[in-house]
Subunit: 346 residues, 4 copies
């Protein structure tokens, strides 16, 4: 059994890790930390876990965490970078669900996250945990940077086009809509149901922190610089991300059939990326609670603009599920172990 | 492997059966019928099932269904009673999720369901599938009447009080709130999101079909006649039932501690009934997608009115999950086989 | 023109006062206070008011407020009682939407609100602003205690029964469901959309602050002591309260027709209480944004339990609308001046 | 008083016309037709209108409608074109909220709406009722084609850019999100709350009927052909449209300040278009129930892509409110008569 620790177990990604790990046949959840709730039973805070998690929140302590085989950081940005090194030195694998190790450039990280990076020396070693791109590296790493929710949906949608050099990389557009759980479990006025229910809005149009992360990934795929307009929106539901992606053919038009074939081939062996039949409109409900990304390809009026629709559950493929998919790879387990979870419809 | 058939696979209880059975280690879904969608792949209608269900909808046919070990009816009322006999004669076990075999009195059934019962001779044999009451009978039956969603939440909440004769059976009140999926997958004006979203209302206050079913169960528990005021409400969410139950002590007050103890003891060995700690307020989200019923007991101001709060997911413990719990019992499997599903929070 | 001030203009009742007063033909909104947002334009915080409110938030100041004819307190409990006296001395009428002046018994107020009442000498003078009960007193008062949202819906529903002495006052039940805006505009974890969306729960079953207020009103109507079991619930929508009220006939059954007639007669001259036709189920959407209370009467199975359904918009008839209805009375205006607002359906 | 008739009074645009007209000081609602509900009181179907609308639904009859000064068609596409001519001949002004008279090209209309146009001879005369573009023509017309909801939000957002020739008209993108009431009051499976609640999806990506209408309007503004990629989405709320518009500068970049100034100037005298301060993110809740369009302009990272955010209430500025704004113009009334309605927040 893999002994797992979770640092920051009270947020939505933390409790989602618990939901999945509690039934994972190869994992024992040994430690769950929460400074604020130390001493409280985990299932007292989360009654949905009664009967399956017999752990008490503890204050984060490297010595205790060092008894784990793997530690997940489900913490706000800026925490994992303070503890990762000590854990790695104690032979603990680290999977960070925050943004601390996602960017390769410490300076740019500092600009977007408003603080100096505390551990830049590990950035080169950290592997960006998008299995559909970095599977072999993931298998060998001890430090995994789990992608953000928006970046997962956008990259999986754009990758085949960019890898083949089919579209103009200077005019990519990602219009993305997220459920409110993406904002986390924080007492914020703006996230009250009275504020977000029955309403829709864009936010951070001038620049969202996930932009450099997405761009870094798209540029690696394209082998070229990329110019992306990324507009995130808040939609009145709890879970789910729907990315609507727009790209223009760079040289010549490619037929919709060829595009469909390209996507199907690119993801043929991927367990968690599902290219829908031509003409489909993926619905976030069909991946709610599951680790799937469902994708559809459109070419309105047969024109020179491709429209890609890509949906995930922001807390699963966009966070906890992908983290566990990465853990499976890092420990040599089948990639879908513990992740055979079907979406909750309706 | 148990070969299972589902008649009426396009409704919400049908697709919920599929969600659970698709991952059940002892079951193979062999037949899924739908007159309207015959010839269509199941996962074309339900993309959430892509990759796990490789079946095409077929028109209902007794000869085909006779090849199954068990057939679930997830049909509108009035269908199972036409086919059950033929299947039983072919040695197929029948689990009916509709109301056809829930009432023992064919005449009363006719009054509430607006048609004559087509198969009254099987009513006596049919076992009412509330495992917390009828477990031993369920194990031996070949014809199982799966309880309604409202009746499950109300009976599990009231049972301990009635079995012990603590409350006045002539003045029971069940104020119950249901998510909209309880109305099924039917094109009805009243169930449009524009009609039900952001709004709350009671309905069928003068008399709802689940009333005689609940009363039948409560009277069996009380060993006495019961007078229940049952008011169902529609709440703007998809899944979940919250029953708020009111009863008055019949002879003398019982302390809240004693009540808490009574409930904990009554359900101590039940895998799917969870009595929350004293003072709790169960939240439907904590059972969403799971087969659990969570219950809390209150005694406002220490007075002579007991308030029981009981929550379930109407499609799981209130329908498909309970049906599979019953199937497990009928086939000698562990009661929770295939049902270790945690609620989706948030 | 009546010069109006609003103390605490940043909460939901404050902005709802502004929505209605901005178009009230006899009112000029002169002062809106907010300690936190002093200096900011009101319509910068509330873009829905752009073009109709040309006021900047100011810190609360008695001298400034003294320039008003009426001051509304849309503040947390405990604020109005500190300022009311000074304003009354300056000849300003005070309408308090908080709970400070609702209870006649200062001691009981202290028990439920967790602090000593700072101004008990005004409690006797304060008029409880339920126009359907206290219209004549309201016209003459200078200090108005605006009823709570739950109390408004429950009292209007029970009053006719209690005034006529038809039901057992020792076993009244009010099962009430509220939208989340009732919790106010405060950054609280429990009120995030991720916590309250797609979920339903009861809360404060052991005792909610509105209980003594409701009981006080019901006892005045009944001329007798009253024992009420009051269970509030949170329903996943923004606006609306649905009260489901249960009472048992005390002496003899009254026919549903007679009950219907009683309610229609009791509220025949009320502009904001609408008794629906027999058999109706009021829907909160039909009063959303309006000052109406819609009521329906049921007698399930012709038994001895009466079920009253009563709906209001918690922010209008349950707060700001009722406050303005009271203001109209206090200033000799037609009761519905500025309040001809139709519900937003769908 | 203007005598108004409404043909098709049972849909959402019909009842929204009634909500606004009931309080319009210059209008008397004389006739409301509904074939299906003829003989029923309007307020029996819509309890939100109790007390303000004293009309019974009647079957549509030209002779009866001829007694009106104006007739609104809130009917499915294909109805108004059958009756408009007869009414115009009887000197009745016609305001059509359906799509029958929106396109100038009868052939193209036939392609998109799947039937031959029954009255092509009136297409040239019909005025497209976007007051911000056609005010003077609207004042003089007797046949008004009220714009669709998507087209209103998209055109108002793009107009200033196109009129000034600032952007590449060959690569316009409109990513638009609508609440579910846009689908109308029809019993459709896909619009059940169980299907649309807690979920988000795109639809009709290959081509939506509003595309030619939008293109026609944009081309008129640009004086050039336009190539628009239009992707509509369904968002889980009842009311509201949020258009996110993308355009690339055609010649040289324009500064954000200049763009902001351009929009403010363009709409300076418009009562129902409100350009928000620079940096704003309009929220659909801030126009819910009102006739306003709120717009914000962004230029992410100062690049060469402009992002315009434009929000309306699909049933008000996107349908009934705009129809009444047009009626006011057609009858020489102040443009905002009866339309001073503030948005319902929260």
């Amino acid at each position: 059994m893999i002994r797992a620790g979770i640092v920051g177990g009270t947020g939505y990604t933390g409790v989602e890790l618990l939901r999945i790990l509690a039934l994972h046949p190869e994992v024992e959840v040994a430690v769950v930390t929460s400074r604020a709730d130390a001493g409280m039973r985990v299932d007292a805070l989360y009654p949905s876990l009664r009967g399956v998690i017999d752990v008490v929140f503890s204050a984060p302590d490297v010595d205790v965490l060092a008894g784990c085989d793997v530690v997940f950081f489900a913490t706000p940005n800026g925490t994992a970078m303070l503890m990762a090194k000590a854990l790695l030195e104690r032979k603990v694998k680290v999977i960070d669900l925050s943004a601390d190790f996602r960017l390769k450039d410490a300076k740019e990280w500092g600009v977007w996250y408003g603080m100096a990076h505390a551990c830049p020396e590990l950035l080169a070693e950290a592997v960006y945990g998008l299995p559909e791109v970095n599977r072999e590296k993931i298998k060998k790493t001890r430090l995994l940077a789990c992608p953000g929710c928006y970046p997962t949906s956008v990259q999986l949608g754009f990758l085949p086009l960019l890898e083949k050099g089919l579209v103009d990389t200077k005019h990519l557009i990602a219009d993305v809509k997220s459920g409110v759980s993406g904002a986390g479990r924080k007492a914020e006025l703006a996230m009250l149901m009275s504020e977000t229910g029955e309403s829709f809005k864009a936010y951070s149009v001038s620049g969202h922190r996930h932009l450099p992360e997405i761009t870094q990934g798209l540029e690696a795929a394209a082998g070229d610089s990329v110019n992306l307009t990324f507009v995130p929106h808040l939609t009145p539901m709890v879970r789910g991300i729907h990315a609507t992606l727009y790209a223009q053919f760079s040289h010549r038009k490619v037929s919709l059939d060829a595009l469909q074939g390209l996507y199907e081939q690119r993801y043929a062996n991927e367990l968690f990326v599902d290219v829908l039949p031509s003409g489909s409109h993926p619905d976030t409900r069909n991946v709610r609670g599951s680790n799937m990304c469902q994708i559809a390809i459109h070419q309105p009026q047969g024109g020179d603009t491709v429209v890609i629709l890509s949906v995930i559950d922001n807390l699963v493929k966009g966070a906890a599920g992908q983290a566990i998919q990465n853990m499976n790879l890092m420990f040599g387990l089948p990639e879908d172990r513990g992740l055979k979870i079907l979406a909750l419809y309706p």
